[in-house]
């Protein structure tokens, strides 16, 4: 058997108890695996400490701990000692409760705001010449199609914005279009919310899929008008 035999038997017994005996106690239920893990960890650290205590070389390490925990010669630390001895089990209990009590909060869904675009939408440049006329036209399209959500002031506060979660992007904010290339906007405007990959939570986005309503040329003009109106410029890779 050797020195390893006893700890292993103990761990297995503990596991079997947690897995098969405890759930059969009336009013109980199968334990979540995270909890079984926590209990086993506690047991294991107990065993490790118990076993390592015998070696003489460990005396130096355990000496002060020993004096503190056994309360021998710890003098003024007595209060602290009781504090630790009471607090530690309570914390373990609290932690256990916290990790097993069912949460009352809705699931939080992290949403990546700027996920990677599909390959064919990287590095496209705006084919529409940047003339005052085209910018004007783009702003006109923006006012007609985008401003209900993104706002006449490009601030995301359009008259239709309030019910949408996530809210329509605020183009005046430096963390939206100022961080993005025109090519990226082209993708987002063409494909809309439903074109997002899973990390962008496409099922929640109200951003329309404009490719079914607007020709590409209009979209490029809108992009121009959008940057101009929001006083931002597209990100470029120098």
């Amino acid at each position: 058997m050797g020195a390893l035999g006893k700890p292993i038997i103990l761990m297995v017994a503990m596991y079997l108890f947690l897995k098969f005996v405890l759930p059969n106690i009336p009013g109980s239920a199968p334990l979540p695996s995270s909890l079984i893990f926590l209990y086993l960890l506690l047991t294991a650290s107990g065993i490790v400490i118990y076993e390592t205590l015998s070696g003489e070389s460990k005396d130096a390490f355990w000496g002060p701990m020993q004096r503190f925990l056994t309360g021998e010669g710890s003098g003024g630390l007595q209060v602290l000692r009781y504090g630790v001895l009471i607090l530690f089990p309570l914390l373990v209990g609290w932690e256990t409760y916290g990790s097993t009590a069912s949460s009352d909060l809705p699931p939080t869904e992290g949403r990546t705001i700027h996920p990677a675009p599909p390959g064919e939408y990287t590095g496209l440049s705006n084919p529409v010449p940047k003339t005052p006329d085209n910018i004007m036209q783009g702003k006109g399209f923006y006012a007609a199609f985008c401003s209900p959500c993104h706002g006449g002031n490009f601030d995301g506060k359009g008259p239709a914005a309030r019910g949408f979660n996530p809210p329509p992007a605020n183009f005046a904010d430096p963390t939206t279009i100022a961080m993005l290339q025109e090519s990226y906007l082209f993708w987002r405007i063409k494909k809309g919310g439903v074109g997002l990959p899973i990390e962008g939570a496409p099922w929640k986005s109200a951003m329309p899929r404009w490719e079914v309503e607007l020709p590409d040329e209009w979209i490029w003009k809108i992009i121009m008008g959008e940057y101009d109106g929001a006083h931002q410029s597209p990100r470029t890779w120098e």
């Binding site: 021998e72 089990p89 914390l91 916290g98 069912s102 979660n165 099922w203 109200a206």
Partner: protein
């Protein structure tokens, strides 16, 4: 003051030692026990702090992101939008937008917020939808939408997503002049149709410029592919739509079909019956920790 200053250089020197130096000295002389003791206490403190931080609940989430159905015994107000029982259910309120997401759009709608309450008894669920509407019209209508199954569905009638495979939605539709609910399914625009199995009831009551509409259904049905299945304790995605049935000067309905007031996805949950098992788990953990301390201290005392 001065004493501290005198000691400082020494302390600093100690702290600047590298790890390997430590080991060597440790093996050789076993002297710096105090330092190790400090390390042990410090890491212990770190662990305890981590545990405390880890268990602090994040309680600043907005209440209105979820409709919660409290578990009640002794009957649900299935038919009665004005029942006293509703006052015991906490309302959650949700902002609405005119539907400008796909054609046909509408730029202005009457209803800008809805308030929703829910109750369940372990078998059935009842929702109370409330909103203000200055006039009662035959075409006033409202709907609930739910995701069905494990796949996410886009909030606009489960319209197809390009990179994610979506699921269907279940829509419970009530219209004033019909005086009942229609249980419907959709998976994409133009696919909305009443189901073969009608499982939902609805009843509306209008007074003082406010609609109160009760929707009810069994928590689970026999058609999980088309009906939302409500499992107490689980959060389910829910969305709302309202049509004000007013007519314009030409006698045409202003809000109809896709021209309506809509919400985004929010959450709904039917409360699970109280579950005390975590108290038991905590008690077991406390007992284990106490046992651990007991064994440890006993062993330490014996060892001396």
């Amino acid at each position: 003051m001065e004493r501290i200053n005198l000691h400082e250089p020494g302390n600093k020197g100690e702290e600047q030692r590298t790890g390997s130096e430590w080991c060597r000295e440790n093996e050789a002389s076993m002297k710096p026990v105090n330092h190790i003791m400090k390390q042990v206490l410090r890491s212990g403190a770190a662990v305890i702090t981590a545990m405390v931080i880890g268990s602090v609940p994040f309680s600043f989430a907005q209440e209105s992101v979820a409709v919660r159905a409290a578990l009640v015994t002794g009957g649900l107000p299935l038919d009665d939008p004005n029942a006293a029982a509703w006052s015991s259910a906490a309302p959650a309120s949700f902002p609405m937008s005119p539907q400008v997401h796909w054609p046909n759009r509408i730029q202005e709608v009457t209803v800008k917020d809805v308030s929703v309450r829910a109750l369940h008894d372990g078998k059935q669920v009842a929702f109370l939808l409330e909103y203000s509407d200055p006039t009662q019209d035959p075409d006033d209508a409202a709907a609930f939408e739910f995701m069905v199954g494990d796949k996410k569905a886009h909030f606009a009638h489960g319209q197809p997503m390009l990179q994610v495979e979506g699921g269907p939605v279940n829509i419970w539709f009530w219209k004033n002049k019909a005086g009942k609910a229609v249980d419907m399914s959709a998976k994409g625009f133009g696919t909305l149709k009443p189901q073969a199995h009608q499982d939902v009831n609805a009843k509306g009551a209008y007074s003082n410029g406010t609609w109160k509409v009760v929707f009810s259904r069994n928590l689970s049905t026999e058609h999980p592919e088309e009906d939302v299945q409500i499992t107490p304790g689980q959060f389910i995605s829910i969305a709302f739509a309202v049509w004000d049935g007013r007519k314009d000067a030409a006698g045409e309905l202003v809000e109809k079909g896709s021209q309506k007031s809509v919400s985004s996805w929010w959450y709904f949950r039917a409360d699970a019956p109280p579950d005390y098992s975590s108290y038991m788990y905590a008690a077991v953990a406390v007992a284990l920790a106490l046992g651990f301390q007991f064994v440890l201290i006993r062993k330490l005392k014996k060892g001396q």
